[in-house]
Symmetry: C2
Subunit: 441 residues, 2 copies
Amino acid sequence: MTRQLHLNAFLMTVGHHEAAWRLPESDPFAHLDVQHYVRLARIAERGKLDSLFLADSPVLWNSVGHRPSGGLEPTVLLTALAGATERIGLIATASTSYNEPYNLARRFASLDHVSGGRAGWNVVTTAGPDAARNFNLDDQPAHRDRYARAAEFVDVSRKLWDSWEDDAALGDKANGVWGDDTKIHPAGHTGEYFQVAGALNVPRSPQGHPLLVQAGSSEDGKALAARYADAVFTAQQTLEDAQAFYADLKRRALAEGRDPDTVKILPGIVPAIGSTQAEALALEEELEQLIKPEYALRQLAQTLKLDPSALHLDRELPDDLPDEDEIEAAKSRYTLIVELARRERLTVRQLIGRLGGGRGHRTFAGTPEQVADAIQHWFDNGAADGFNIMAPVLPSGLEVFVDQVVPILQRRGLFRTEYTTRTLRDHYGLPRPAGVLKSSV
Amino acid sequence: MTRQLHLNAFLMTVGHHEAAWRLPESDPFAHLDVQHYVRLARIAERGKLDSLFLADSPVLWNSVGHRPSGGLEPTVLLTALAGATERIGLIATASTSYNEPYNLARRFASLDHVSGGRAGWNVVTTAGPDAARNFNLDDQPAHRDRYARAAEFVDVSRKLWDSWEDDAALGDKANGVWGDDTKIHPAGHTGEYFQVAGALNVPRSPQGHPLLVQAGSSEDGKALAARYADAVFTAQQTLEDAQAFYADLKRRALAEGRDPDTVKILPGIVPAIGSTQAEALALEEELEQLIKPEYALRQLAQTLKLDPSALHLDRELPDDLPDEDEIEAAKSRYTLIVELARRERLTVRQLIGRLGGGRGHRTFAGTPEQVADAIQHWFDNGAADGFNIMAPVLPSGLEVFVDQVVPILQRRGLFRTEYTTRTLRDHYGLPRPAGVLKSSV
């Protein structure tokens, strides 16, 4: 069989374009309505996509003025979607900086049970001081500390997920023996950040471990991905950058002693799809016109650690910007934005338009055939194992992708025409972690 | 209208009797199957019950040997049940000692949105060193500290639930103004246990605040209940004790400046129901025979802070037991057990039988009519505003309660025959908290 694409639907409010909510078709309160997400999940499942994904940060951003704000907590929302779908994988972001491993490992194991083995966790360290200030801190921990804690957090979580052997539960009514205590293995973890003594209070879940996703592209982020991630979401603007990232991460995985094929790399793509290219460009243009530049400029200034007055809509970025090393939050996003602006010599207004479309992810306007070509081109040229599909407008952008782009990929033999597997790991062609092996006698 | 009963279905694995899983009818793995709980929730909803409830502690107890162990995390499970039901309230226990307010307030607000205003939170401080050891501690915090943290936790949660005014979201597409930033109120909380700066990232939920439940009956527990609880679950063995508890808590609520009618008191009852009393007693007897006394004795010894060798199955409890004041975990449960044993001069074996049936809650064997009488007797005599129904065997015990006891209570005019309200607060006849009032000009 031809090597197969993996496709993930990244769901966000009424679309990834920050002005999508202003379109006539959009319900500005849809992101608070579980039925909106049920509809999206069913569209994605109709397209036989591997998974859907929800981003997250435990903080209310700056201002609720310019776009749909707040929302439903992702593990809650995914559980609701588990009941409304049958096959599609369900991936939620959750922070290692502002959770405790016992609680989070437990929720993902529970979601894995409830969904029949379809849970995935996007491991993030949560950038920014605002989130830190919701959790007893005055400022965010240093970048390196956040990543060191993240690594230990995943280690503890794995111990907890493996704390029950698969056959620890017996249910022997006649003898009144429900389970075998010798097959329960307390975590017994004492580390730099965590001390977790006990076993999880959830039996081992269908996937053993939920699928682990990583999405940071800083040095620390790539190191974490190479060590732990089953799938990597990444923002890449050019084929060359994507190839370099892909090769680098596969190499790092190998250096960690892993089979590089078990780390699936999925760049984001924000496809504006039209029946002609002109129609697709018109959709992009319509959305760009709806951006409120004053809000966007303020956000950009914050990301770049500048005073808003240092930015002028019709000029390029100022020359004097901090190095990535000086940035403590969202390092890789910072670098991507600066490089994009410099490479294409964008004015602030143009940069805002590009970022409003995909927050640093690659935007692409074209016909279904052109979108399929763009996907295949990267897939065939060592830049991607699949894609993170970020529809600019939801549900319409996902619907047109599923109904018009997916069939082209299927005809080319690049994508499944039916689900043939049950669990999220199976969809991605990944093995089930063995867990604690029975000690041989 | 006659004063109305409130009824809550306390769901636990395949029943509250610890040996229920050994009955021929029971699936010993049902508690890991969301469909089992869906079935229970629909039975409870068929009976027009106010709510259902899930207990919780973030720890795997002692041994998995003698009864169904582990399970699905309650906020995950309740979300799954929200999608499978329409009217019944959904109450989950969650610990204030081992969560962060921002995360937990957010999940309950999300559940309140997803369920259309049916979320409730049973606020617990989580007793015992084993749970503490899963959260970076060597032992549990002192009883008073746990309760002081719980009070502050609820205060912060309320600030977060009120951080959006009800009409903060505008969705004004024409002007590109999604929300009104002046109607967002950051928590700005700095206290002894928590520092939480921001606003919640969930808009105000249908109930404003989820229903708050409290279930500890220690001095600290009663103080917390009087100050915050909308409903109180309590274990009471005799009418006199229940009356005293009821009067005391209503008095305390009044002293807190609250209307005592807005604190609903629900003692637990474990009804073994038969078409004759003899049949009901035979069910109790059958279950008692299935208890493994060696496990139960070990558990009892742990609760009483004794070495297991100090207990003998066919003797009464030893004379020399610690005072409640010396107990740091589950104080009120400790006292209840000791008093029950002393009052009825039970041997350890008999005590184990009683505790195996309802873990300290009142057990009652009888016909549907007798169960209805028992409920009405306490309800009419200042001991209860309703009951926490703890079926010894699930689903059958809940089914017989709903199909045979509820109709009797309905005929007596004591219980609703249809849901006439939408939210959990409405079912309990409680007002929706006002939230932040718009400042008058």
